[in-house]
Amino acid sequence: MPEVLQRKAEPAIRRPVASAAPVTRSLLAGWREGLCIVNLRGNAEDTAFRQAVESVLDAPLPVKPCTTGEGSAVRVLWAGPDDWFIVGPKGQADALATRLRKALAGQHHAVTDVSSGYTVLHLSGTPARDVLAQGCPLDLHPRAFARGACAGSHFFKAGVWLWQTDDAPEYELLVRRSFAGYVWLMLERATAECGLVTRRFA
């Protein structure tokens, strides 16, 4: 109905203050290729399991839903009551998976290197929340979603795991590799108003 879509202009349009510090108006986005991504399954209620994992990762294992555990080298994402993603530096997946399997030997667990199946998308800049909101139903207001939180949701039709790395805001999205092209296409469309700056990672 066109009459619903028509909106009156704001009575007093606020002009940008000339003295305001320059801010990035565009969205910064880039793929962080080749990161170590390991999927871990196990019983979170088992103290021995938690201790073994934490000793290897040097990071807390998040047992509270939708939280992350940050260590010196890796970030652990809660992906279910018995399911975690471990995101670490490039090229570490093999070594990390081997160390985890060794520490968990004899216990009920599963460690799977899924680095080749997933990739990580970095998003930052002032419009990051508005761009995400176009395709993701999550409440990303700082009151509801801050650093240390993570959530499984979708960006348009692609399933993603999302977490915040900085309150600036700066987000990272765990995306299935086969959806990377689609996610980027939708990102280009969602940033038609604010602009998109590609950021490259070493």
Partner: protein
């Protein structure tokens, strides 16, 4: 869009979930001694009430867990959600859903 309270992740948008039809159906332990009619009833026959319905939903793009939902098929109002294996919580419409399961 509905807001569904995932028993693990909390309130989320309906688009993150998938509906798995009627919930709380128990697989008969003595499947070898059932008649074809009884087995067919377990496999195929589902309730389609006008009112409160006990359903199973999955948080597909979130934690991936199945859970129970008490939903009114007329108003779409969700009366309760609870984890698989837990008892049905005291909620409005609980009696109607329990009766329909009997």
């Amino acid at each position: 869009m509905l807001q569904i309270d995932c028993p693990w992740c909390g309130p989320r948008a309906e688009s993150e979930f998938s509906c798995g039809g009627e919930g709380g159906i128990v697989r008969p332990p003595n499947s070898e001694s059932l008649t074809d009619a009884e087995w067919g009833d377990y496999v195929f026959m589902r309730k389609n009430p006008k009112g409160v319905h006990h359903e199973q939903w999955r948080h597909a793009s979130g934690c991936g867990r199945w859970f129970n939902v008490l939903r009114d098929t007329v108003s779409y109002r969700i009366h309760a959600t609870w984890r698989i294996g837990e008892a049905m919580p005291d909620a409005e419409g609980q009696a109607a859903a329990s009766r329909s399961n009997a």
